[in-house]
Symmetry: C2
Subunit: 430 residues, 2 copies
Amino acid sequence: MRKNNSFAVLGDICYAVAADDLKTVPHAYAVCENGLCAGVFKALPDRFSDIEVIDMSGRLITPGFADLHLHAPQYSYRGTGMDLELLEWLDSITFPEEARYADPEYAQKAYGLFVDDLRRSPTTRASVFATVHTDATLVLMNMLKSSGMGAYVGKVNMDRNSPDVYRETTEESVKETCRWLKACETAGFLADDSIVRPIITPRFVPSCTDELMRELGKIVEKDKLPVQSHLSENISEVEWVKQLEPEAKGYADAYDRYGLFGTESQTVMAHCIYLRDDEIDLMSQRGVFAAHSPQSNMNLRSGIAPMRKLLEKGVKCGLASDLAGGSSINMFKAVTDAIQVSKLYWRLTDETKAPLSFTESFYLATKGGGSFFGNVGSFEEGYEFDLLAIDDGMAKTSLEFEIEQRLERTMYLGHAGFIKAKFVAGRRIL
Amino acid sequence: MRKNNSFAVLGDICYAVAADDLKTVPHAYAVCENGLCAGVFKALPDRFSDIEVIDMSGRLITPGFADLHLHAPQYSYRGTGMDLELLEWLDSITFPEEARYADPEYAQKAYGLFVDDLRRSPTTRASVFATVHTDATLVLMNMLKSSGMGAYVGKVNMDRNSPDVYRETTEESVKETCRWLKACETAGFLADDSIVRPIITPRFVPSCTDELMRELGKIVEKDKLPVQSHLSENISEVEWVKQLEPEAKGYADAYDRYGLFGTESQTVMAHCIYLRDDEIDLMSQRGVFAAHSPQSNMNLRSGIAPMRKLLEKGVKCGLASDLAGGSSINMFKAVTDAIQVSKLYWRLTDETKAPLSFTESFYLATKGGGSFFGNVGSFEEGYEFDLLAIDDGMAKTSLEFEIEQRLERTMYLGHAGFIKAKFVAGRRIL
């Protein structure tokens, strides 16, 4: 980003600064200065009076969306095999397909489609699982960098309970992780201003031996790297973890005892459906993010995460597609899926837990999840300039709406085709 | 439809003949003869050897979809106000907007947008609520006829518990219903071959006095008209019906005692969430259709209909958007919504009730709901020729799939833009 590289986007601006605070400013300027937001103004201040104005009058202007959990290699088969539950789905569909990424040529082709669609989607930042393959993971990272997307990307670690064609030995897993991180350093992915970065990615407890977890914990501590994994997604899975790790105090502790559960290192855990209260408290204390993946949790029959409870207990939360447990990378849909399942949770499970409001869910998908990546997901001063210009008029209507209603109907009706411009950290990528 | 008007559509054909029986025929011909399907053939039989072939090679060919319940005047505000529950949503948003259709000019404009989008959607047949206004309802019916869509359309009846600006007296309601039916006759909507037809539409029990219900029952009996209404959508609503109709044996009986619940007349009831077992049995005995509206039931916090139970008890079932309780008229989405909520029902409410399989839900959205309109929703011989040609390649992937998987991913990922051709009763409308 050049110094003094300033411009403004003019349109109908809305953004959430808190879960209960949606700001809407009709026909206003969102100003970008050196990749950061300099604020939202009804009229341009003098110091910006001669900057370029990108005129998106009449468009809805929102921050970019953060997808806190998705599996890039699963993009190829999204929307298939949905009659299966988690563990059988992993064995019969997921692992065989992920194994194909041993071939960098296949990775190039398949990741190319994924990255191109992600670039066109509402997402500006994503926390991404790749596969166990170091080279294919670097292919993906380079593609994301070229596309201009912001992402944390993980080479996956798995050394047990996986098919022969798709498993590493403990030694290989550690060695390849080190080789990958070295390559990341060479390629600039560890530089302060890189918005594509490595993240340590033990697949989930059933896939990783204690020894591997211990080694990954050491790497995380040494290199101050972020961590992503899965936590308490499915009842059978939780039972399995109990059997596999009888000495751990629970699923959360199976990560925590190896330093893979927050505090020093930014950590995000997908799902968080069947947590005990003390595990929720631990997430809160450790600053571990919960990546709520409602669409996936329906598709794989997992259940509904207790979002109100997590929020009340102070857990940091964001939304996720969990592609390809979730079929769609459209984060607009994640906003409405989260609201819808929270309403069913309220009706079917616990009527003391109020459903997510529209503003809350929009907040989770922008500033809530965005904060995993730094100051991301809002137009407050100093936030990274991630911005979408949306043609909500594509959903035709005979009525005139206020900005808040236009935003709501965009979440219920919109898709990638609605997005007419997209900026990530001040760079226009669409 | 001209006599001997025959043609074929060539493509990758799939259709459900039963809830557990999906037929897939790659690169085959679906033949139309005088508006009806003459069958699906790998090679054209001699008698069809010289008919026109519409080449959709590589496209997915499916029957049209049936939307068993939607409110046309609510299209304007779809996707807004979703933080509200049913009864407050009716009062604050629905009734004020529906009242505007007293103005036929507004109706022309608003229904124009609705009908145009419905024509582009997967739906070929719909059971539609209009408003209380006779003239606006005729506007809608004429537009649907011009578009080529198949539909049952109802002038709504409501003479109590409605705001002053949007209520009829009992006498007006009956008189206007008769005027509307007379106009329908004049316009040809009662002719045997009309695919746009009137349907008697008491809004729901809370909106209709016993006297009005009685009069509507007489009209239904005399003119052998179909009936549509709402049934057991929401816990507060069910309680309210109990208070309003203490002499009825229940919500279903509040219709049945006036001859508005099947047997002689084709009847469809939306929602059917909180039914007693004897009410489900009554639906089954009377041949009353359940219009399952999963998206709406989430949005309005209603709950999840016990679809497995309804199917096991032999109730005829189909799927519905319930626009604008549901935000989208995309029936592909209704297929996946129905699967997703059935998985949550299984997980959260009753693990003895297996979730809907993909084939079951696709069947419900095509032949299941289609049978409300006659022989509709399949490519069996003699079925009305309702057909979609779908470019499922718009959801890009690095993999090759079988037809069944292509169909599944179309339901999870597809929208109106995927539809490249559409036929209703043998007429191409897109």
